[in-house]
Symmetry: C2
Subunit: 234 residues, 2 copies
DNA sequence: TTCATACTTCGATCATGAGCGAAGCATGTG
DNA sequence: CACATGCTTCGCTCATGATCGAAGTATGAA
């Protein structure tokens, strides 16, 4: 009855407070140095170094040297997805209240999940795109439809300019505050970048909160309207 | 920069091998006794007792006394969802190969995720229902449409007979082998039960594998055809 | 070149928690 | 009632791993 992958090892990596803080800091999507992460974790540089080695060996974190600096990032948005799922469970288990969300309403509304938009607005965007036939499920992954191609081109995203990477273009990511999927993958990243380039939204300095301007939010709601409710609500 | 829920505590609970084995065993959806779980975990009854107390206190597992027996289940399918996500990451990080799945093809194809169908067939069912307008996203959750109501009634599921529970009727659950959503919630459970009642599928004795009969699989594929690919595949 | 900074490695400490033997409590059966 | 079984609690052991001081290596700047 020992079926499937071994989850204890991965969970144990996340289960140390210092390492959890490191991973949470990397959810911002920024590449952070070992010294910065030591500060985030609240431990010395030597302790952080050991932790980072474990996270790297464990396949959760990637490292890149740049002169004397070493930058760390999460390996993939799948890691971010797992952290999101754990956050949802931790938030729920901690309070045992129904539909418990984060204390910070801004985090719930719109925040960075690694490199794409999460929160209620992230979920709304995903659902709107599915409802409008811009995204479509297939047997392998989410597919950007022809209409979707036109849509993102009109938004100002050049799909041919995206890096050739093994990361999928579109991907679901389960949102912990909204308990439903938001859009991850290269397209999710590109869209958030576009919002920021258009000055519709900006990132907060030391937070994962994404703040939309009133005009930006209006434009967002116009582009990604809430899908209509069906008549058969229970 | 200590935003969001504390994930270390939850992850540490999962990060012990004995407790991970317990949780994995409970993914079968069966209610198992403390003695059975001790066996699954490979520890003595006293050790299992301590572990189960931690899982119960931590909000991951629920206990119910029945005479001298005590039965344990996962608290919710959200817990199952987190375990699924961790399994996906563990499978990937363990091998660092692209699109790594489980070793057992049967688990990948169709298996129990707590109480509903998971694997490729679970994902196909979900997507088919969305594509056919039986399930529809709303701002709160997945909604079963009017057409969906008719569909499940015709399948033989009496929605009025489902337990009045705070668990949602429909819910997404991210599938670790297919890396996309399958249907959880009360409806997901009811549908799998219906498949089994119709003898389309059966559960394996000491495994989470769900085996469809040839006729059952044919009927399944007829009811839940694979959504068509859009022309704009990349 | 010297000095400062970023990061890693080593060695030692010690808090933590998993584990089990022993014992006790609760329930069921004959 | 006696005995068996399921489960919990207590006390102790000891392996593990996080932590930091010390020291070393690598890189950058003056």
């Amino acid at each position: 009855m020992k079926e499937g992958p071994d989850i204890a090892q991965i969970a144990a990596l996340i289960g140390d407070p210092a390492r959890a803080n490191i991973l949470t800091a990397l959810m911002s999507g920024k590449a952070l140095t070992a010294t910065e992460l030591a500060f985030e974790a609240g431990v010395t540089a030597q302790t952080a170094s050991a932790h980072l080695a474990k996270l790297t060996d464990g396949g959760l974190v990637a490292a890149r040297k740049s002169g004397r600096h070493k930058y760390f990032t999460l390996v993939s948005d799948e890691v971010a997805g797992v952290l999101e799922a754990l956050m949802g469970l931790a938030a729920g288990a901690g309070h045992l209240r129904k539909r418990t969300g984060p204390k910070d309403g801004a985090m719930r509304k719109a925040r960075i999940c690694y490199n794409h938009l999460a929160g209620d607005m992230g979920v709304q965007m995903y659902r709107s795109m599915v409802a409008k036939g811009l995204l479509e499920p297939s047997d392998e992954s989410l597919i950007l439809t022809k209409a979707g191609h036109a849509f993102v081109s009109e938004l100002g995203i050049d799909l041919d300019a995206l890096p050739t990477s093994k990361a999928p273009l579109c991907r679901e990511c389960l949102d912990w505050s909204a308990r439903s999927s938001h859009l991850a993958g290269q397209l999710g990243r590109a869209i958030l970048s576009r919002f920021i380039a258009l000055n519709w939204a900006k990132r907060e300095e030391n937070s994962r909160v994404v703040t939309f301007t009133p005009d930006g939010e209006k434009a967002f709601l116009s582009l990604f309207p809430m899908p209509e409710r069906s008549i058969a609500e229970l």
